[in-house]
């Protein structure tokens, strides 16, 4: 049972680390909007390529 002297502090440290990580992320506002991010991750992060658009007369 001596192994508990290592395992117990290890478990506590791990648990403590995750609690702190959670508190940090909550305080940073990562859980403020739970709806949009799931859509946002679908979009590619490419810059707009300003290809010379076909000229058009103003639609009005």
């Amino acid at each position: 049972m001596e192994v508990i002297t290592i395992l117990l502090p290890l478990a506590l440290l791990l648990g403590g680390f995750f609690i702190l990580a959670f508190v940090w992320s909550a305080k940073k506002g990562q859980y403020d909007d739970l709806e949009t991010p799931r859509f946002r991750m679908l979009l590619d992060d490419q810059k707009i390529t300003k290809k010379s658009p076909t000229s058009i007369k103003d639609g009005k």
Binding site: I4, I19, V23, E35, T36, L43, P53, I56, D58, G59
Partner: protein, 785 residues
């Protein structure tokens, strides 16, 4: 049928871009086509690629071109009220966007910093359709708003009480942290509790016990703080709350656990208590989340009227500047364009036009006004430009008066004591009596120490956890299911009130009827040179008049062709005329004329929704009294009452907003269903106010429930939902009382210990959870449909 590439509406006369030579991308109107060109010029064509594959999030309508320059966004007064500096010290403003509809909109909006100069970030909240824009030093909000308009959205600046908003965000974040800490600690405690129950050797038992106490401390102090707070407030105000028995159990449990640790007895209730705190916080968080969702959905409509308005700077030279309606002053000359809402009470200086009064008074036909006539805030200008002088603004207008009355109505309402609190009163008393009896009983037959220990145990294990958990869960489920059916309920209290409703009052226009004119009877008397549909479509297509709109709608499905109209005239209050293909056509009240010969007659009416009749019958069959309160005239209301099979003394007409609210005040257990400003006071005076689809912002504010789908069917669903939900709540109440009686019995028999408590608590919580999930037969039926 072709659908518009941009807005997905049916394109009756499809337009194509000049760059789209194969004509593969149809557009329904010039507005949508213009946006397509703008996107193409900016190199944002990917918008349509993304849109093609994305699920539609919200429906939207075709783009309407506006000429607004948003100059008012740069006014110092305006900026002071509407913009703010965010937590990162950036200049920020929020806009509600009309027209947000899918993933592609998200992409487009968040690309703004790349093609609009001076914008630092632009973040869209899809659910609320709100974009938050922050600027660099050289940025301008008016520029952003113009660009948004070019992209086909309609931006409405949002006024934000920044302190309140920041406070709310902080509250929400700390609620999450409380839940997280409670969950993590409860999980860890369980590990050590199982070791203790499994029979840990004494040297470990004391260590594990110490660890459970250490983990429990943050939960019982930090996480459980909201319970203590509500309990304390309830005691201070001499009101009831279910948090009182919960707090008692938590505090006594904490002292007992620490005491046992000091005397070296490895026994405490922290595993059950921390899990309880975690589950309770979680269930309340869900309930709060879903209520906020309902609230923000209705909040957002409040500024709908706050489109910019043109105010005269120099009357002689006819020059106008754009301001926000918030800043209109008495004696300002305002230019009201067709389609716009009148933002103040005033008098017409120049021009004549038809006004739509239906939202303010309930009248279904337009009213003609000309110079010298009075006009009121909240009415819509239909067909011609008007110049009005503002006489009363903001709170002094008739609409403002209604708003004040609504506030009175709210104050007037009785606060109900919710069921849980009512029960908790008897509950707490009973538990204390039982604990005292147990103490004296055990004291008489055994040691005082043992008696005290057992009495305390009783107080801990009878904590009404199942009940406290079941109620928020049931309400959360009811509110979320309601919103799936397009019914947004502002709070859980409404459901309790709804279940008691006996009298339902309905508004006529827009509630029982469609709220807009429709062609009911069309007779073609003679053949015409070109199709009747083509005549009507080409003559009426630019008119804003309700009759013209009704005719257009009627002929839309026949896909009319476009013709050139010569000498096109709209004669005010009479009709329209013009030359098509060498023939002279005229449309007026009597009918359609070709070369002065009557060729067709039609009549228009605000007709009753077909589903109203069955919905009303179903409401009556549930034993509810249904009456109609209308501001419209006797003939119209009586005809409608006949049609829907209502007794004529139940259909009341020509009522002013005040009379409506008096009717409601003098009747107990009422529900009011309506849409216009004329219903708003009545909505706020009724026990439950329901604003129907298309309702005006003012009635949304007054209402407790908002329907996002038209018609009366949701009202019927709402009544069923609330009655059945209260049944589930009562069932959960009985179930949790049974479990509590079991633990009391066990305590009297001396059978209770932490292990028994650790079994009873999750089992009882699971039972009520299960009971909530299966609902009742009627609820299951409602959920499925």
């Amino acid at each position: 049928m072709q659908t518009c590439t941009h807005c997905d509406e049916i394109a009756v006369q499809a337009l194509y871009s000049e760059i789209d030579l194969e004509k593969t991308q149809p557009f329904c109107c010039q507005g949508c086509l213009t946006v397509f060109h703008v996107l193409h010029q900016k190199g944002l064509d990917s918008y349509y690629e993304i849109k093609k594959n994305a699920a539609v999030y919200k429906r939207r309508s075709p783009v309407e071109l506006t000429s607004s320059q948003f100059n008012y966004l740069e006014d110092v007064d305006f900026l002071a009220e509407y913009s703010y500096v965010n937590l990162n010290q950036e200049w920020t403003m929020e806009f509600y966007l009309e027209g947000i509809h899918c993933l592609a909109c998200l992409w487009l909006i968040e690309k703004i910093p790349e093609f609009v100069e001076g914008v630092k970030t632009s973040k869209l909240d899809l659910e609320r359709s709100v974009v938050t824009v922050t600027l660099k030093n050289n940025g301008k909000f008016s520029r952003v708003a113009q660009e948004l308009t070019h992209l086909g959205y309609r931006p409405h600046p949002l006024k934000k009480n920044q302190d309140a908003a920041n406070f709310r965000i902080k509250e929400e974040r700390s609620a999450l942290i409380r839940i997280g800490v409670a969950g993590a600690a409860a999980g860890n405690i369980m590990i050590y509790a199982v070791s203790l129950y499994g029979g840990a050797t004494p040297e470990f038992a004391q260590l594990f016990n110490l660890l459970t106490v250490l983990f429990a401390i943050p939960v019982l102090t930090y996480s459980a703080f909201p319970f203590y707070q509500t309990a304390w407030n309830a005691i201070k105000n001499r009101t009831l709350s279910i948090d009182i028995p919960i707090s008692i159990a938590l505090i006594i449990g904490a002292f007992m656990g620490i005491h046992n640790l000091i005397v070296g007895v490895p026994e405490n209730y922290f595993d059950s208590l921390t899990a309880l705190v975690f589950l309770l916080l979680l269930s309340r968080y869900f309930l709060q989340k879903i209520q906020e969702k309902g609230l923000s959905a209705s909040d957002l409509h409040f500024f709908y009227q706050s489109e910019s308005v043109l105010v005269s700077v120099d009357d002689a030279r006819d020059s106008f500047k754009e301001i926000h309606p918030r800043f209109i002053k008495v004696n300002d000359s305002l230019k009201i364009r067709p389609g716009e809402f009148i933002p103040a009470d005033g008098i017409v200086l120049r021009g004549c036009s038809n006004l739509n009064n239906s939202l303010l008074t309930g009248e279904s036909y337009p009213i003609k006004v000309e110079a010298g006539d009075h006009v009121f805030n909240g009415t819509q200008n239909i067909d011609h430009e008007l110049i009005i002088k503002a006489e009363k603004v903001h709170h002094d207008t008739r609409l403002g008066g209604i708003l004040k009355n609504i506030e009175n109505g709210w104050a007037h309402r009785s606060k109900i004591v919710d069921l849980a609190s009512k029960v908790s009163k008897y509950f707490t008393a009973a538990v204390f009596v039982l604990a005292t009896i147990l103490f004296f009983y055990l004291n008489a037959i055994g040691s005082t120490e043992h008696a005290l220990e057992q009495a305390i145990t009783l107080l801990i294990v009878t904590c009404p956890c199942a009940l406290a958990l079941a109620i928020p869960l049931t309400f959360t489920r009811a509110l979320s299911k309601a919103s799936e059916h397009g019914i947004i309920i502002k709070s859980d209290e409404v459901i309790e009130k709804l279940a008691k409703v006996e009298n339902i009052f309905l508004d006529k226009t827009g509630t029982i009827t469609f709220g807009k004119l429709q062609v009911t009877d069309l007779k073609e008397l003679k053949g015409t040179a070109i199709n009747l549909a083509d005549i009507i479509f080409n003559l009426e297509k630019n008119s804003h008049h309700p009759v013209a709109k009704a005719l257009m709608e009627h002929f839309k499905s026949q896909r009319p062709r476009a013709y050139e109209v010569l000498n096109h005239k709209e004669i005010f209050g009479k009709g329209v005329s013009g030359m098509i293909d060498g023939h002279y056509y005229e449309i007026n009240k009597v009918g359609v004329f070709e070369n002065d010969q009557l060729v067709a007659t039609f009549s228009v009416q605000d007709i009753v929704r077909p589903d109203s009749i069955s919905a009303l019958a179903s409401l009556r069959s549930q034993g509810l009294t249904v009456k109609v309160l209308s501001g419209d005239n006797a003939a119209v209301v009586e005809a409608m009452a006949k049609l829907i099979g209502m007794k004529s003394d139940h259909a009341l007409f020509e009522l002013s907003p005040e009379q409506k609210s008096q009717m409601i005040e003098s009747t107990p257990h009422t529900m009011m269903v309506g849409d216009g400003a004329n219903d708003a006071i009545a909505l706020s005076y009724a026990d439950v106010g329901v604003a129907v689809f298309g309702a005006m912002d003012i009635s949304l504010r007054a209402a407790d429930v908002y329907l996002t789908t038209p018609g009366l069917v949701p009202v019927e669903k709402l009544v069923t939902l609330s009655k059945e939900t209260m049944k589930v709540i009562r069932r959960n109440l009985v179930l949790s009382l049974i479990y509590n009686s079991l633990s009391v019995t066990a305590a009297f028999l001396g059978l209770i210990d932490p292990l028994v408590a650790a079994i009873i608590m999750p089992v009882s919580s699971l039972t009520v959870l299960f009971s909530t999930l299966i609902g009742t037969k009627k609820l299951r039926h409602l959920w499925k449909s």
